[in-house]
Structures are given as C-alpha cells and as structure tokens.
Amino acid sequence: MDDLFVKVTTKMILPFIQMYGLYVILHGHLSPGGGFSGGAIYAASMVLYTLAFGLKKGQQRMPHEVSSKVETGGILLYVLFGFAGIFQGYSFLTNKAAGFPMGEFGAVLSAGFIPIVTFAIGLKVMSTIVTLFHTMLEEES
C-alpha cells in the first residue's frame, strides 16, 4: 500500500499502540488483560506497520531471526522460572512458597512470578502473530 496518509498516521499512532500493549502486559496481574491480549495488541502494531510500509520494511523492523529468538526466549523464561519451585523443594511452577518476592498488594511489582510469566506469554504471543503474518505475506508475494 503506497499511501502517504496511511504512512503518516501509522507513524503517529504506532508508539501509542505499543505503549498500550506494554501497559496491558505489565498490568496483567492488576487489571483485565494479560499476556495473551497485551501481546496481541503489540503484534497488531507490527501488523499495521507491515500493512502500511510493505513486507520488506516490516521484515527489516522485525526480522525472522529476531522473532524466532524472542519466541523461544519467552517460553524458556517461563520454564526457567518454573524450575525455581523445583529447586526449593516444591512442585513445578510454584509461586509464593518458592520464595518469589510478593511485594505490596496492588503494586505493579508484586505477585511473585505472575508478572514475569505474563511478560513471557506476551513476548511469545507477539512474536507468533508477527511470524504468522509475515510468513503468509511471503507466500503470497
């Protein structure tokens, strides 16, 4: 799509979409939302960028090497923090008993490993949607 208005508008609203996606991910344990929905919002910004500027620029912004590393890194983060429970003598993916700092109730940095897990899910959902979108576009061209 080669339209000046679409490009300028996309450049203007892109940071706001990404900020909102990060907000939904980071406040997953406080407000409605979480890793899945926040990651989808963040991925929507990348999809919008690719739609406005074309596949080539979209892939420069989020190359396949990076998105595959992000996806694997997200699930690795999840599993590694799950192993903390085993090392403390509890079951896999134990939160409070495994000694994660609980923080103050209602604060952003609280609830032990729930924000970490939500962030990992967000990374994975984001890279998955971007990878699927780019792959389908690649096949079309």
Partner: protein, 101 residues
Amino acid sequence: MKKLLTLIVLGGLLLVLLSSIAELPPMGEEKGPSYNEIAHYYVEESAEDTGAKNIIAAIITDYRAFDTLGETTVLFTGITAVISLLGVSHQKKEGEDQHHG
C-alpha cells in the same frame, strides 16, 4: 460404499454425543458439578495466595500455570503447522547448487 461407511461412523458419533448431552445436568443448578467449593476458594484466598489483584491472572498463571504453559506451546505448534503447509523456508541459502525442496 465409502460414503455409507462415513455415514455410519458419523451417525454413531452423533448418537453418542446426543445421548451424553441428555445426561448433562441443567444449567445453573445448585447441585451441579461445576458449582463447587473451588470457586469460593479462589474468590476468598487468591489474594492471599498469589498477591495478584486480578483473580483471572491468579488462576491462569499461578494455580493453573502448567495449563498455560501448554497453551503457549500451542502457538509454537501453530507456527510449525503454517510454515510446513506454506512451504516457506527461512533458512539462509548456502550456494545455488544445493536445492532443498
């Protein structure tokens, strides 16, 4: 012949599913198996157990974190399925004479 076999198998499946629907407890009944003490436990104890204000987040990433781990691997399976179906190769080509199908 093949169509008859399909019809028999699908009809049998329909009968099994319909008979199991007839056995389901009515919606919203007080003694239904889905209305048990676990819901009360989550509402009352999840803030103390997990420290999360959002009960849904507490359930899906703490009480049922292993289930969510499986859910996230579904995404990976989706990518694998799409790439294998579309046949797009993301590997860097090593020389032109090596041709990978």
